[in-house]
Symmetry: C2
Subunit: 216 residues, 2 copies
């Protein structure tokens, strides 16, 4: 995104306490990541659901997909998460920007082989979508766990980039008669839409009713 | 994201009228793209603002950045946009998913050299953030246009992937007493926050007051 002196770039080992907190907060608020890998010199960037568990993120997909095959075979990966917080409207066109928080994780993904760890990952995916949902949904069978692919990526090499605050205009532009500021953006949830095949008399569960995307 | 038989994958030349409409709609609704490129075997995925203009997308950044240097030098790129439309809650844990629309563009970016085209790109970025803003903001000077980097990527090789509709459970699970359905997600705007340095008496402009992120 457009760079500015307000953009703080941090690139550090995962042990930096303050920064790991920031990174974890961003990873735990985002629902979608974009995973990049290269296959015969062509990069691919694929959206994926994910969940952070401690020092790693889990993500998954069809075992047949090119993503999973390439990454499970040890191709270097880049895992990026971006939260859009607001539009930044400057007085001058070139200083328009957005407020955002993003995390970039570099590394080599590990294919999760054991069924207990796959079950833990599915639990994390389910709880990540809606906390409390794991207790409501039918748990995975061993057959289901054998059929899915799960990848894990360590947070060892992780950086965050954050832009906050008002626009930054050139000094002489502050006198201009142009409104400038920030329009905050939020993710909000609409009313739950029941599955047309829902058994009669089954209402939204506790987890569904109390869920809101504004957890940050 | 988790695959399902509801996921429709389309990979076609850009001339397919229906599908180009779908692709354009997704590109015109998203504010952020994730651009992937590889540098010495390491893929990078970087968020960027962008704007579609006809048969191409423009994106930009600091001329000093690794992204711009690599892509401007002809490295193959992948440009991905994802809109998250809802949480899909199935009766079984493994069939949880999300409704989304995504577009993937493959190609080699072109560094935009001419100042008139750079000006056109800045106009598109500004109008993309908030329609009508270009008429309000101070236009770029030639000096500013010389200092920025703009990349263009053709939409020749573009595909879209869309998931819509209710969860897909295993047939025997439909009898379970578990609420299932979709929680729609929307992007909404908060009240505009004026820049602390705003000249007194300057209120939100027409473009700012009438803007809403729900344009789709």
């Amino acid at each position: 995104m457009p760079t500015s002196t307000r953009t703080k770039l941090r690139r550090m080992p995962s042990r930096g306490v303050y920064d790991r907190d920031t990174i974890d907060q961003i990873l735990d608020e985002a629902l979608v990541a974009h995973v990049g890998f290269a296959s015969e010199d062509q990069p691919y960037v694929i959206p994926t659901l994910f969940a952070r568990v401690g020092e790693q993120v889990y993500f998954h997909g069809s075992a047949a997909s090119r993503t999973i095959r390439a990454l499970g075979a040890g191709a270097p990966a880049c895992f990026t998460v971006t939260l859009l917080d607001g539009l930044v409207l400057a007085r001058s066109a070139v200083h328009h920007s957005v407020n955002y928080r993003s995390v970039v994780v570099l590394g080599v993904a590990r294919a999760v082989e054991g069924l207990p760890e796959r079950r833990e990952a599915v639990r994390a995916f389910t709880e990540r979508l809606i906390p409390g949902r794991w207790e409501e949904a039918r748990p995975p069978t061993d057959k289901e766990l054998k059929a899915i692919s799960v990848l894990a990526l360590s947070l060892d090499e992780t950086s965050a980039k954050v832009r906050t605050g008002p626009p930054l205009d050139d000094e002489e532009d502050y006198a201009l008669d142009v409104w400038a500021g920030v329009i905050p953006l939020h993710s909000t949830a609409g009313a739950p839409l029941p599955d047309p095949r829902l058994s009669s008399g089954v209402g939204p569960s506790d987890a569904v009713r109390r869920w809101t995307p504004q957890r940050a």
